[in-house]
Amino acid sequence: MSTPFYVSPQQAMADRAEYARKGIARGRSVVVLQYADGVVFVAENPSRALHKVSEIYDRIAFAAVGKYNEFENLRIGGVRYADLRGYTYDRADVTARGLANVYAQTLGTIFSSAAEKPYEVELIVAEVGNAPEDDQIYRLPHDGSIVDEHGSVAVGGNADQISSYLDQRHRDGMTLGEALKLAVESLSRDNNGGERTLTAEQLEVATLDRTRPQQRKFKRILGRQLSRLLEENGAAVSAEGAADESADSADSEGTSGSEGGSDSGS
């Protein structure tokens, strides 16, 4: 039997981190922004079936970049964790912090276990609160660390560039239309400073909307609503967005009453 080469722990970890980072950088980016009524998730994703952004629980959503099978695995794990928690205790006892901790443990264990290859994923877990100050956004890089973020976050391919672009322009209390516009602008910037145009078909957009009367705050913005939000710009967008939302909430008013009722009953 041959003696394996000695590799210093620093070198081994650096290699693994390098491997994971390269994997993540190959994919398209996802950005997450806080706006006045919640948190908006925008991903460049031409597929309608393979989601990068998904619902985890009432107030919690998940966004990921990297290898699909790996983050899908983590997503299902998260849904199971949240549903089991909520069933055992109460729906209010499922928090983004708890979920982010579980993800961090999982990613950390996999990253440092020599037997497995590190996951090439980067996750965002966000929870919408009753007020903008209560919103929580956690970014979970491939190595199992947790970063508590505020305002705007980007993960994936050009994360650094996009983040700094967003940091400069994002402000608190933006409307959905403004936040969406900023997100799309940031995603359409190329590595080398050029611009691409992203159409509604290439985008996956979802929100955690605190004004939604239902218990489950997650909502995908699809088709007509999305193209309308994208087409209009500036002030027109915000007016349109507000009108949309009020129409939506009026539609679902009845459902909310009933869900609230069922809650107290069960």
Binding site: V79, R80, L84, G86, G254, S258, G265
Partner: protein, 258 residues
């Protein structure tokens, strides 16, 4: 549910060791649930009484729940077990929806409920039966559908109307005379409240509308737009109108003789 069974089997309704007691266990029982379909969907309603033997255990219990956006379930039988079963059923539908990214078909939901009732058979043999009524909007066939169950989990689809629970015989009798297949949503809601009134009239375990305490039946409707529960004001309007008419005709509307 499989995941729950593997990881925390003690949380599942049917997995507990049988109780060492003989004879019936005293626990609150829910009573009458009625449902009727109409061209745009289905209504599902329940009275508000829970009984324990000859005692009224609770007069404002809620026995009709949304299962998900397009279906509702009403429960008759042991209240504690039934509420837990509904909670697990809701969880399972939501879990499936989130994991698969699509809702279960109405048929799939009805089958799932059937299995859950069957897993409770051991308890049912000791007098702790749970017999729900399930109604929903079938997104594929675009119509409201109603399913009834027996204690062994046997499932059957009902066309028109259905009832379960101790007052179901009377409620079904009333609906038989009132039901037509061209009812509007509001008429269907009135018909089921009439049926509950008749059930309360003849069954001591079913509670009628309690005008003094403002406790009215729970009326829910499932249409293309999803689940909706009537507000207290809406139900009280129906219940008061019925009550008003019954002051003149205590037995309710008369059907034609021939």
């Amino acid at each position: 549910m499989d995941f729950l069974g593997e990881h925390s089997p003690e949380l599942l309704p049917g997995r507990r060791p049988p109780l060492p007691v003989q004879g019936a266990v005293e626990a609150p029982h829910g009573t009458t649930i009625v449902a009727a379909s109409f061209p745009g969907g289905a209504v599902l309603a329940g009275d508000r009484r829970a009984t324990m033997g000859n005692v009224i255990a609770q007069r404002d219990i809620e026995k009709v729940f949304p299962a998900d956006e397009y279906s509702a379930v009403g429960i008759a039988g042991t209240a504690g077990l039934a509420v837990e079963m509904v909670k697990l059923f809701q969880l399972e539908l939501e879990h499936f929806e989130k994991v698969e990214g699509a809702q279960l078909s109405l048929e799939g939901k009805a089958n799932r409920l059937s299995t859950m009732i069957r897993s409770n058979l051991g308890m049912a043999m000791q007098g702790l039966a749970v017999v729900p009524l399930f109604a929903g909007w079938d997104v594929d066939r675009e119509k409201g559908r109603i399913f009834t169950y027996d204690v062994t989990g046997g499932r059957s689809e009902e066309h028109g109307f259905a009832a379960t629970g101790s007052g179901s015989l009377f409620a079904r009798g009333a609906l038989k005379k009132l039901y037509r297949d061209d009812l509007t949503e509001n008429q269907a809601a009135t018909a089921v409240v009439q049926a509950l009134y008749d059930a309360a009239d003849d069954d001591s375990a079913t509670g009628g509308p309690d005008l003094a305490r403002r406790i009215y039946p729970i009326v829910t409707v499932i249409t293309e737009e999803g689940f909706k529960r009537y507000t207290e004001a809406e139900v009280s309007e129906i219940a008061r109108a019925i009550h008003e008419r019954r002051l003149d005709e205590p037995d309710g509307p008369r059907a034609a003789l021939l």
